[in-house]
């Protein structure tokens, strides 16, 4: 990517609760709010912070599989439902599996680069319309359907269990399971500090030991991961405004209330091919590297990262792909506490996908909202310290098995 032709900001973020098992309010037997509710809540949440719908020029809605979860296509049409003021304005729906939210952000950024001043990016997914065993069928659409037949009953968990298995074999099972369990603990401890997180109500006394002691069982679930290693089925939406300098002024948002987007990249791998090496997230590596290069900083400048830990092993592989640890040492890096909220590089400070939740099409936007909150001091109990010399944050949003990746670098103003 060439240098951006103008400055891009994000502000006015909003997350709904990530609803699903673990939340006290969640009752699978009772009727629950649908897609409309989540789109509306998140959209209104952002509009309230930008001075109303009249200040928004365009909207982008990211969603993965409402067509199957909710039997609903044509999501762009729900944008004017949020507020009458969005009627007859451009609205576009984008899809890149679990990177749909990230792709909504990129589409919004490109719109601003192309001349718009204020774009609302919204990501949403409502998945608890079916049991997990059928959710697995729907999410398998993020892989190549030709491979579904030979895949696991829980298709994606199966893919990442295979990655974990390859990592175990290459670098040692024991230390890796310790790293995975530490990742789980960090996720839960961080989620407990964030009232919208799915694991906010989690009271397990010792999540790390609990996860470690739960031996994976391939007969009933997966060979190499247990249920705690997996993000849950979530309903939720997030929204954020993407703004030019003029957009900030129009919306009455002070610069210090916004973050600046200083670099971004998307990268794509051939969905019909297996990863070159199951222990390496090559697309994450590629996208992260490009985004950081565009931003003109290195990983050492980052104060915090939101990375796509749909499974604990994905967290560890991302640590290596980003370059914080050498191949095979990511598990140790995590186990030693370096990614904890007080560690060398705090990751997923409100719980990430395992702890906060993973409403698939909403996740990319949720990550941006979290970085915006951290860099502007709005994270409440989950706020971490942003060192003066490291005013940067980063999001890594992944679709499929390291197929579509969106990486964005942000700077505190």
């Amino acid at each position: 990517m060439k240098k951006m032709n103008k400055k891009i900001y994000m502000a006015a973020g909003y997350n709904t609760i990530s609803m699903g098992t673990g939340r006290k309010e969640f009752n699978p037997k009772k009727e629950r709010p649908g897609l409309e509710h989540y789109i509306s809540e998140a959209g209104k949440g952002t509009l309230a912070q930008v001075g109303g719908a009249q200040n928004i020029d365009e909207s982008v809605i990211g969603n993965f599989m409402a067509s199957r979860f909710n039997k609903q296509g044509h999501l762009a049409g729900f944008i004017p439902m949020i507020d009458e003021g969005l009627r007859f304005k451009p609205s576009i729906r984008v899809e890149a599996a679990c990177a749909s939210g990230g792709m909504a952000l990129i589409t919004g950024i490109k719109s601003v680069l192309a001349g718009a001043d204020a774009v609302m990016a919204l990501g949403v997914e409502v998945q608890n319309t079916m049991k997990a065993i059928y959710v697995a069928d729907v999410l398998a659409g993020a892989g190549w359907f030709q491979k579904r037949k030979d895949g696991h009953a829980y298709f994606f968990p199966g893919q990442f269990s295979d990655r974990a298995g390859a990592y175990f074999e290459k670098y040692g099972r024991e230390k890796t399971r310790k790293g995975l369990s530490r990742w789980y603990r960090n996720s839960i401890e961080n989620a407990r500090l964030c009232p919208t997180a799915q694991e906010f109500h989690n009271t397990t006394p010792d999540p790390e030991t609990t996860c470690y002691k739960m031996e994976p069982n391939g007969k009933s679930f997966l060979d190499n991961l247990n249920v705690l290693d997996c993000s849950k089925v979530s309903d939720g939406a997030s929204a954020i405004a993407i703004l030019s300098e003029e957009g900030l002024a129009k919306c009455g948002i002070a610069k210090k209330e916004a973050v600046e987007v200083i670099g971004f990249a998307t990268s794509e791998r051939d969905i019909t091919k297996n990863p070159t090496d199951p222990t390496v997230m090559e697309t994450i590596k590629d996208a992260a590297h490009k985004a950081l290069t565009n931003a003109g900083i290195t990983i050492n400048d980052l104060a915090t990262i939101e990375t796509h830990d749909c499974f604990t092993i994905a967290g560890i592989l991302a640590v290596e792909a980003l370059g914080f640890a050498k191949p095979g040492e990511g598990a140790d890096f995590v186990f030693e506490g370096n990614t904890a909220r007080t560690g060398k590089i705090p990751m997923n400070t409100t719980g990430g996908l395992v702890g906060w939740g993973h409403p698939t099409g909403g996740t990319g936007v949720h990550q941006a909202v979290t970085i915006w909150e951290q860099l502007t001091g709005k994270t409440g109990a989950a706020q971490i310290e942003i060192p003066a010399g490291k005013p940067y944050g980063m999001t890594i949003n992944m679709g499929g098995d390291d197929v579509s990746v969106v990486a964005i670098v942000y700077r505190k103003n």
Partner: protein, 445 residues
């Protein structure tokens, strides 16, 4: 005949009933799983669901379909392997549907008993009527070429009596599921000396395959489960009689029910349990058992009276509780029947006076649900009963007396040779009745 061959043609008698439907479901799933083994490909598996009611058989098929869906969802990892060679079945949902079709496909709902003439194995879950059972067994055995094995679900009739009356020469044993069979883990296995080893081995293998816990019981009317339950219920009824010197019938039933549920930390009070099983069924089982026990009278005038007044309890077709001793709203007791006045009286009207009379619950009380699933259940119960033991209130004294009687009933089951040991008695009450602790305990010593 191998295990698989034995299960190629099976009949369930009374298949649409409360117990029969569960037995049919579990057997259908077991048979389907066998039919899906590569070595059984192309072999015919047939399960006759025999019942007298066409209407109930229709309901049965709906039940089996709904339950098989749940079962399939839980074993998806296995099912994907089983159907791995079916290229047309790709998604979990497609495989689950196919599995349901396969299970339904082996079931032949019928009102014709003749279907059972071709079976190697007959599960009998007809009503608890000795003459009916004898007739069914004789008719099938006389017309069958296969010398079938009869597994009866009787909960009270001695197996040797059925064996002799139907002239089965040892081809019958008691395979007693608990209600509901699809959920309760317990199977009481009652064998007689004439049974072949092959038959007993098969019964044990079948139970194991269904993931049931087998408790062997000797062949005495009522076996272990009803041996305890009937006497325990009679104790409750007799306590009502004693309390009625000072309290009304409704108040007395309320108090005994509360003592048995709360003070004794059981899943439900004794009168709710009688309603759950059915007043008619309890009365019937007592009538079956009574002639076999010369030194005690297993009979209740009160149950006779309620039965005659058509107050029977039991469950509706949708599984909800019918009114009996107690009247239920959303399966929760709200009123108590007074046979003298022939009407129900709201529980709310008697709670204040009765609770005051019973006295406070021990401070360490926790309801059955939290105790039963607690990790340190034994310690919790020990502390609770030790506190209860130190109290001297009407409620605590009734509870202590009840526990002592329950203990005595359990020990008698062992000393009379019904159960092999204390542990078997406790296991039946823990797994078949969901008690948090066995009747043979040291809590009050």
């Amino acid at each position: 005949m191998t295990y698989d061959q034995r299960l190629q043609n099976v009949s369930v008698l009374g298949a649409a009933g409360k117990m029969g439907s569960g037995i049919l479901l579990l057997t259908a799933v077991e048979m389907t799983d066998l039919s899906l083994k590569p070595e059984n490909k192309g072999k015919l598996f047939i399960l006759n669901a025999v019942d007298i009611s066409q209407e109930m058989l229709t309901g049965l098929m709906k039940y089996v379909r709904a339950q098989t869906l749940k079962i399939a969802e839980k074993k998806m990892v296995w099912l994907r392997n089983v159907y791995a060679d079916r290229k047309d079945l790709i998604e979990n949902g497609e495989i689950i549907n196919e599995y349901i079709n396969d299970v339904i496909g082996i079931i032949r709902p019928t009102t014709n008993i003749e279907a059972a003439y071709h079976s190697n194995l007959i599960f009998e879950a007809a009503s608890e009527n000795q003459e009916l059972k004898r007739k069914l067994f004789s008719q099938i055995d006389e017309n069958s070429l296969y010398k079938p094995w009869f597994f009866t679900n009787t909960s009270s009739i001695p197996i040797k009596v059925l064996n002799n009356e139907a002239n089965l020469r040892g081809r019958i044993l008691g395979f007693h599921f608990y209600n509901p069979p699809a959920v309760q883990k317990l199977v009481e296995l009652i064998t007689i000396t004439e049974n072949s080893c092959e038959m007993i081995d098969f019964a044990e293998d079948f139970a194991k395959s269904l993931k049931k816990i087998v408790v062997p019981s000797n062949d005495y009317a009522g076996f272990i489960g009803n041996g305890h339950f009937m006497r325990d219920a009679l104790h409750g009824i007799s306590e009502v009689g004693s309390l009625m010197k000072k309290f009304s019938f409704v108040e007395s039933v309320y108090m005994v029910n509360k003592v048995t549920q709360d003070f004794l930390v059981r899943p439900m009070g004794i009168f709710q349990l009688i309603d759950y099983v059915g007043i008619d069924v309890v009365r019937f089982i007592m009538n079956v058992m009574n002639p076999y026990y010369n030194h005690e009278d297993l009979h209740s005038d009160l149950l006779d009276k309620l039965f005659e007044m058509n107050v029977k309890g039991g469950q509706n077709a949708d599984g909800s509780q019918k009114d009996g001793f107690l009247k239920y709203e959303k399966n929760k007791p709200v009123a108590i029947f007074d046979p003298e006045k022939n009407k129900y009286f709201a529980i709310a009207e008697v709670t204040e006076r009765c609770d005051a009379a019973l006295g406070a619950m021990p401070a360490s009380f926790a309801p059955w649900k939290s105790v039963n699933f607690s990790k340190n259940k034994d310690a919790v119960l020990m502390a609770y009963f030790s506190e209860l033991n130190g109290m001297n209130t009407l409620g605590s004294n009734l509870a202590k007396k009840y526990n002592t009687r329950s203990n005595e009933i359990g020990q008698q089951l062992v000393s009379n040779g019904v159960a092999h040991n204390d542990d078997d008695v406790n296991k039946v009450m823990l797994t078949g009745f969901f008690h948090a602790y066995g009747p043979i305990n040291n809590f009050l010593k």
